[in-house]
C-alpha cells in the first residue's frame, strides 16, 4: 500500500485478480482492440471452434462421397478414440502403458463373441429369459438346438467398456507399486499375454484364424452392412463423446489428482490423494475407452484376429499421443488423425506420383516404390524427433504464460489481507488435551536409528518449533507423523485418535497438512492447480460428477477456485498475478509460498512447516514470518522446523531440540538457548564448557 511507484494500470491488479479467476488474462483488453474475435470470452471461443470442427467433420461424407476415403477417415477416428484413452493413462496419470492394445482386444472380442456364431452352446430352458430380451436366439440344428448370441451393438459398446475396465483394474492392481520403466514393462507383458491367450483358446476366439461373421450394428432394423459412412458417424460421435469426457475429467478434481500423481506421487499422497484408487481409476477409464472402441472396430471389420492387437498397435497409439501432445485432448486427436490419414492417403498418393515419375525417367526402382510400407519407419522417426526436439507435441497440454513485467512484479508487495480465512484451524474445542501427541516414537532405516523414543505434545492453537543440527531427525519426525515412513514403535495420536502408520492421504484427511524441506510441488501445473489439488480431500466430485457437471459440481468448483484465490491472497501480491503460471517458472521464494498455500487449502487443523524460510533473503523471511504469525492468530496450530533462530524466537512459544534422533531439550526459546546440551549439540563440547 505504500508503494507509490507502482504504475497506475497495475494498481487495481490485486483486486481484479482476487475477483476474477482469469487473473492472468490481463492482456485481454489489449487483444480485444486488435481482433474482434477476441471479444468473445475464451471458453465460448473454444466451444465455438469445437462445434465448427464437429460440423465440418459431420459434413465430410456428404461433401466428399468417396467410400474409400470415408473408410480411411472412420479408421482414423477409431485410432483417435484409442489415443484419447491412452492419453488418460499416460498423459494425465503419467502411467506409461505399453500394452494398451490388450484392452482394445478385450473390447473387440467381447463384441465379436457376443454377436457371432463362434460360441454356440446347446439350448436349455435357462436361455429363455435372454431370448425374451433379444440377446440370444434359438437356432434349430440337427443334433439339438443351439444358442446364437446376437447382443445388440449399442448395448455391447458400454458393456465392452465395462468389461475392459474390469481388466484394466485387474492388470493395473499388481503394477501400483511400480514406477515408470517397470510399469511399462509389466504392461508390455500383459499386452503380450492377451493376444497369445486369444490365439491359444480357439474354442472361444477361433484362434489364429480369427473370429468371423461378426454381426454389423443395426439401427431401427436397418443394418450398417459394409458401407463406411455409418461407421464414420458412429466413430465421430464416439470421439466427440470421449473428448468431452476427457476434457471434463481433466479440469475436475479427478483430473487434477491424476496430474498430481504424474508430477509427484509422494506429494500427491501427502495432499490427500488416494493413489491406489486414483491410479486404478485411470487404468479403468483408459481401458474403458479402448473397450468401447474395440466394439466399433470389430463391428466395422466384422472380423478379428490376434495380430490386430499386438505390440506394434500399442506403440502406434503411443506414437499418436506423443506426436499430438502428451496430456492434450485436442493434441492426441489431431495427432492420431494426421498419422492415420498420412498412412492411408498421403503415402498412397505420394507413392503414385513417385511411380509415375519413375516410369517417366525409366527408373525401375522409383516406379515400384511403395511408401505406405515405410509407415513404421516414419513412426520411429517421429518418436525420436519429437522426443529430441518437441517433447510437448504438436499441441502442448499446457500453454506457457508470458512473464510478468517489472511493473507488475513490483506492484504492491505487501503482507496481504488475512483478517480471516474461512474454516482455518477450526477445532472441536470441547475436547481437552493436546492436539498432537507423540509417544516414544522410534524410526529405523536399516541399522540407523533416525528417531529414538521421541515424545512430544502440541497444544491446540500453539506454535511449536523443532530445531536441531542437520541429520538430527527433524524431517523424519514429520515423515513419520504424515505416514511417509513407517515407524518401528511408538504411537502418534491426533485429536485423540491413533494415526500411527496410517497412509499419508488419511493423515491429511484427518487435518494434518505439511510442506517439504526440498519443495515437492507439481512443477508442470499452474499455481492455481497446485492449490486446488491441496483441496482434494475437502471436495467431493467423483468421476461421475465430473462427467455430468451438474450445477452442484459447478458450484463446488467455483467455490474451490474462489477459496484458492482467497488463500493465495495470504501472500499479498506475490502469487495472485501468477495464478495461471506454471510453478516451474516461479522463483524459489514463491515456490515456498505456493507450497504453504497448497497445505492451507486442505483446511488443516495442524500445519507442519519444514524449513519454510529456507533460501529466502532477510526481507522475505521477515515477510513470511509475519504471515505465519497471522495464520497462528487466526487459530491454526503450527509445528515448524527452522534453522533461523530469530524466526523461531519470534514465532514459537515452545521449542523442542533433537540431536541424533533423540529429544535433548524442550522449553521456551529463551530456555532452550541457554541449555548446555543444546549448545553442545550445535557448537561442540568445548563451546559448552566455555
Amino acid at each position: 500500500m505504500t508503494d507509490l511507484k507502482a504504475p497506475t494500470s497495475d494498481s487495481g491488479l490485486a483486486e481484479r485478480a482476487a475477483t476474477a479467476p482469469a487473473a492472468a488474462g490481463l492482456s485481454l483488453a489489449g487483444l480485444a482492440r486488435a481482433a474482434p474475435l477476441a471479444r468473445i470470452p475464451p471458453h465460448l471461443r473454444s466451444r465455438g471452434a469445437a462445434l465448427t470442427m464437429l460440423l465440418l467433420a459431420a459434413l465430410f461424407p456428404i461433401l466428399h462421397p468417396n467410400d474409400a476415403d470415408i473408410d480411411a477417415a472412420a479408421n482414423a477416428l477409431t485410432y483417435a478414440s484409442l489415443a484419447l484413452g491412452l492419453n488418460i493413462v499416460v498423459g494425465m496419470a503419467g502411467l506409461l502403458d505399453l500394452g494398451y492394445a490388450a484392452f482394445f482386444a478385450i473390447g473387440a472380442y467381447a463384441y465379436g463373441i457376443a454377436a457371432s456364431w463362434q460360441v454356440t452352446p446347446l439350448w436349455t430352458g435357462y436361455w429363455e429369459p435372454l431370448q425374451w430380451l433379444g440377446l440370444v436366439a434359438r437356432f434349430h440344428q440337427a443334433g439339438g438346438d443351439v444358442v446364437h448370441f446376437q447382443v445388440s451393438f449399442w448395448l455391447m459398446m458400454p458393456v465392452a467398456a465395462i468389461v475392459a475396465a474390469f481388466f484394466g483394474v485387474l492388470f493395473g492392481a499388481p503394477t501400483l507399486r511400480l514406477k515408470g520403466d517397470y510399469l511399462a514393462i509389466v504392461t508390455l507383458g500383459f499386452g503380450e499375454i492377451v493376444p497369445i491367450v486369444v490365439r491359444n483358446t480357439p474354442s472361444l476366439t477361433n484362434g489364429a484364424m480369427g473370429l468371423n461373421g461378426v454381426a454389423a450394428p443395426q439401427l431401427f432394423g436397418w443394418s450398417f452392412g459394409i458401407a463406411a459412412t455409418p461407421y464414420y458417424y458412429v466413430g465421430l460421435l464416439l470421439v466427440a463423446l470421449l473428448m468431452v469426457t476427457s476434457q471434463r475429467l481433466k479440469i475436475s478434481r479427478i483430473g487434477r489428482a491424476w496430474m498430481a500423481i504424474r508430477e509427484d506421487e509422494i506429494a500427491a499422497a501427502a495432499m490427500g490423494i488416494n493413489r491406489v484408487r486414483m491410479k486404478l481409476l485411470a487404468f479403468a477409464t483408459g481401458a474403458a475407452f479402448a473397450g468401447a472402441t474395440g466394439t466399433l472396430f470389430v463391428a466395422k471389420l466384422q472380423t478379428a484376429t490376434p495380430e490386430m492387437f499386438m505390440f506394434p498397435v500399442s506403440v502406434m497409439i503411443l506414437v499418436m499421443v506423443v506426436f499430438g501432445g502428451v496430456g492434450s485432448v485436442w493434441g492426441v486427436v489431431i495427432g492420431a488423425m494426421i498419422l492415420q490419414l498420412l498412412q492411408s492417403w498421403l503415402l498412397q498418393d505420394l507413392s503414385g506420383w513417385l511411380n509415375a515419375l519413375g516410369r517417366l525417367i525409366h527408373s525401375g526402382w522409383l516406379s515400384r516404390i511403395q511408401l505406405a510400407s515405410s509407415i513404421e519407419l516414419i513412426f520411429g522417426l517421429i518418436l525420436v524427433f519429437m522426443m529430441l526436439y518437441r517433447r510437448d507435441g504438436l499441441i502442448p497440454a499446457t500453454r506457457r504464460q508470458r512473464a510478468l513485467s517489472l511493473g507488475e512484479q513490483h506492484a504492491q508487495v505487501g503482507s496481504g489481507g488475512i483478517a480471516a480465512l474461512k474454516g482455518l484451524g477450526a477445532l472441536d474445542d470441547s475436547r481437552d488435551g493436546p492436539l498432537l501427541e507423540i509417544d516414544n516414537l522410534t524410526v529405523r532405516f536399516g541399522g540407523l536409528v533416525a528417531l529414538r523414543s521421541v515424545s512430544l505434545a502440541v497444544r491446540a492453537h500453539s506454535v511449536l518449533a523443532v530445531i536441531g543440527p542437520n541429520g538430527s531427525g527433524k524431517s523424519t519426525l514429520f515423515n513419520a507423523v504424515t505416514g511417509l515412513v513407517s515407524t518401528a514403535s511408538g504411537q502418534v495420536r491426533f485429536a485423540g485418535a491413533d494415526i500411527t502408520g496410517r497412509p499419508p492421504h488419511v493423515v491429511l484427511d484427518r487435518g494434518i497438512a505439511r510442506t517439504f524441506q526440498n519443495l515437492r510441488l507439481f512443477p508442470n501445473l499452474t499455481v492455481l492447480e497446485n492449490v486446488l489439488i491441496g483441496m482434494h480431500a475437502r471436495l467431493h466430485t467423483g468421476a461421475a460428477g465430473a462427467l455430468l457437471r451438474l450445477p452442484r459440481t459447478r458450484r463446488e468448483e467455483e467455490a474451490a477456485r474462489e477459496r484458492a484465490l482467497e488463500i493465495l491472497s495470504v501472500f499479498g501480491n506475490r502469487l495472485l498475478p501468477r495464478v495461471d503460471h506454471l510453478v516451474s517458472s516461479l522463483s524459489y521464494a514463491n515456490r515456498r509460498r505456493v507450497e504453504i498455500a497448497r497445505a492451507l487449502a486442505s483446511q488443516p487443523k495442524l500445519l507442519l512447516l519444514d524449513e519454510p524460510t529456507a533460501g529466502m533473503n532477510p526481507a522475505e523471511t521477515l515477510e513470511l514470518a509475519g504471515q505465519i504469525k497471522d495464520l497462528h492468530r487466526l487459530g491454526l496450530t503450527i509445528v515448524l522446523i527452522e534453522h533461523k533462530l530469530d524466526v523461531v524466537t519470534s514465532l514459537a512459544e515452545r521449542v523442542i531440540v533433537l540431536d541424533h534422533g533423540e529429544r535433548i531439550a524442550e522449553g521456551t526459546p529463551a530456555e532452550v538457548r541457554r541449555d548446555e546440551e543444546v549448545i553442545r549439540a550445535y557448537l561442540g563440547r568445548s563451546a559448552a564448557v566455555a
Binding site: 515408470g180 500383459f190 519407419l377 520411429g380 529430441l388
Partner: protein
C-alpha cells in the same frame, strides 16, 4: 539314476538358448545399471547384428549349410565373424547413444525410453525395407560333429556356443572387476553424481556400457544364426523380450544376475515346451517377468529396488 534322454536333450537345448539370452541380457543390464534406462533399441541392435554376422560369413563365400570348414580355416573364419559382428554392433550401440540418447540424458520421465522404442522401430524397418520380409538362410560352416551323451545328442554348435559365451562373460567380468574403466563403471552405477565429482568421465563410461552391451548382443546374434540357421527382421523382438526377462529375473543391473537369469529363461523355454505345450511357453515367460517385477523387483541377485521417485 538315469535321466530321461528327451529331458536331457531339452536341458542341452535350454543351456544353448540360455547362453544366448545371457549375452543379450548383459546389454540390458549394463545400460540399466548406469543410466537406469530400459533400452528397447537393444532388441534390434541384436537383429541387425545377425545380418552383419551373416554378411561377414558370406564374405568367405559361405552360404547355406552345404559348405563346411574345418581346422584353422574354421577357427579363423569364426574369429573374424565374431570380431566383425561385435565391432559393428558395438559401434551401432555407441551411435545410438551419441545421437539419440545423450541429448536426453538429463530429461526426467519416460522420454529416453520412448526414444529407444523409436530407434528400435527405425532399425527394424530399415532392415525390413532393405533386406525384405522373408527369412534368410544363415551360413553355417560348422562340421556335422555330434556325440551321443546319455541318449541325448550333443552337437558341435552347442559346445561352441557354450565356449564362446563362457569366454565373453569371463572377459566382461574381468573387465568390470579389474580394469580402471571397469571400476569407473561400477562407481557410476552406484552414484553417477559422486563418480563425476571424483573425476570419472561419465560420458566415457556410458559409451563403454553401450559398446560392450551392443557387442555382446552382436555375439548373441551370431550365435542365434549358427544355432537356428536363419535370420529375419523379426528375430529381435521375441529374443530381446526373453533376454530382458532374464535380466529382470537375475536382478537388473547385476552382471552375474543377467548370466544366471539367461540360463534360467533358456531352460524355462525348452523345458516349458517339454512339460507344457510349446504355445504356452511365452505366457510362462511373460508371467515370470510380471511376477518378478511385482513381487521381487530386485530379482535374484539385484541390489536396489527399481522404484525411483
Amino acid at each position: 539314476m538315469t535321466i530321461d534322454p528327451v529331458l536331457l536333450q531339452q536341458i542341452i537345448n535350454g543351456l544353448s538358448l540360455g547362453a544366448m539370452y545371457s549375452l543379450l541380457a548383459l546389454g540390458f543390464t549394463l545400460v540399466y545399471g548406469i543410466l537406469e534406462l530400459i533400452n528397447f533399441a537393444h532388441f534390434n541392435v541384436f537383429m541387425v547384428g545377425s545380418f552383419v554376422g551373416m554378411w561377414a560369413l558370406e564374405l568367405f563365400g559361405l552360404s547355406g549349410q552345404s559348405i563346411t570348414l574345418s581346422g584353422f580355416t574354421l577357427v579363423g573364419v569364426l574369429l573374424f565373424a565374431f570380431a566383425a559382428t561385435m565391432l559393428v554392433s558395438g559401434v551401432l550401440g555407441v551411435a545410438i547413444e551419441r545421437l539419440a540418447l545423450r541429448p536426453l540424458r538429463n530429461v526426467s520421465g519416460p522420454a529416453a525410453m520412448i526414444t529407444t522404442i523409436g530407434v528400435s522401430y527405425i532399425l527394424f524397418n530399415v532392415i525390413l525395407l532393405t533386406v525384405g520380409a522373408g527369412s534368410l538362410n544363415f551360413p553355417n560352416p560348422l562340421p556335422r560333429m555330434r556325440w551321443v551323451v546319455g541318449g541325448a545328442v550333443l552337437e558341435l554348435r552347442s559346445v561352441l556356443i557354450w565356449g564362446v559365451s563362457l569366454v565373453l562373460m569371463l572377459g566382461l567380468h574381468l573387465f568390470v572387476s579389474h580394469t580402471r574403466l571397469g571400476k569407473a563403471m561400477r562407481a557410476t552405477a552406484q552414484d553417477a553424481e559422486a563418480a563425476r565429482m571424483m573425476g570419472v568421465d561419465v560420458d566415457r563410461v556410458v559409451v563403454t556400457a553401450f559398446f560392450l552391451g551392443s557387442a555382446l548382443a552382436g555375439a548373441a546374434a551370431l550365435i542365434f544364426g549358427l544355432y537356428y540357421n536363419f535370420t529375419s527382421f523379426l528375430i529381435g523382438y521375441t529374443a530381446g523380450l526373453r533376454a530382458f526377462t532374464a535380466a529382470v529375473l537375475g536382478g537388473i543391473g547385476s552382471v552375474t544376475g543377467a548370466m544366471l537369469g539367461g540360463i534360467i529363461i533358456g531352460l524355462v523355454e525348452s523345458l516349458g515346451g517339454h512339460f507344457f505345450e510349446v504355445r504356452w511357453a511365452d505366457v510362462i515367460i511373460f508371467s515370470i517377468l510380471i511376477l518378478v517385477l511385482v513381487f521381487a523387483p530386485s530379482g535374484l541377485l539385484g541390489r536396489a529396488t527399481p522404484s525411483r521417485s
